[in-house]
Homo-oligomer: 182 residues x 2
Amino acid sequence: MSYYPRPIRFCNQCGHAVCHQLPGDGDARVRAVCPQCSHIQYQNPLNVVGTIPVADDGRILLCKRNIEPRFGTWTLPAGFMELDETLEQGAARETDEEAGADIELGRLFSVISVPPAAQVHLFFCARLRSLEFDPGFETQEARLFAPADIPWEELSFRTVSYTLRRFLENPQGTQVHCFSLE
Amino acid sequence: MSYYPRPIRFCNQCGHAVCHQLPGDGDARVRAVCPQCSHIQYQNPLNVVGTIPVADDGRILLCKRNIEPRFGTWTLPAGFMELDETLEQGAARETDEEAGADIELGRLFSVISVPPAAQVHLFFCARLRSLEFDPGFETQEARLFAPADIPWEELSFRTVSYTLRRFLENPQGTQVHCFSLE
């Protein structure tokens, strides 16, 4: 299963078949242009926003995925940023939806471009205000892991393992880690 | 003119009229669902990526816009992130396309959520390797401004003025500025 966007075949404004061509407005990229209503459908990378929820004793909250892709593996709570929200609001919403965790959102921690998936993953630090969780349907189990017990071989995504490794190297640091995964 | 996405009316996979409904997969948001082929079209915020190109003498490169919105105002070079590129590649590409500037890309400087536009703007620091520019069709003029001469009243977007103000307060700082504009 891939999240890379499917090629566009029809105009989503009028339903006519699109042409893949230069739009003629100076844009140097081929786009899905409607020959009937002239609407241009663009495809661009999407943001995935999440948190590193940390208990006061240093344990980290991970969620066991109940959905594909990577069913049954462990992830930080994260998901697609939605319209009408900020990065911070999206990260907090996903933490609530996937873990039912009560958090105090902290600083931006990592910003990871993932061109093969046409995504950018952004993780924020978060302090757990409570150790009671109420996972949603996307999560089989929400569990706290001491740093020594992180299931490195069973993590869902490389952006999660990179973010966790950078975080555990320096939990008190203030650097924002910006990098890319090919 | 608004960049907020237009409501979806037709399936871009099969051309059938869509229904706006809960998709039935646990998702709690109304989506554009195709009753014929079951394809779900999502709409999410987009990333706008750009740079703060600085000459060795401290002057900053701004571009006078030759396109709407905000025709004739001054902006930092920036534009929509494209598929198949990282944030850094997108920021460098936009700087080349809009200003024809030869830069050495630096660190991530600002990350600004703009929910009313369904966008996130991300600016990177950049050092100008040359003071010769070759603006593309989107730019009337590319010009260097000393900090005291920045045309604050004629800047294109609030994300540009916020980014420039934070940068000029502390050009050598290492903080990533993460905030939101309503």
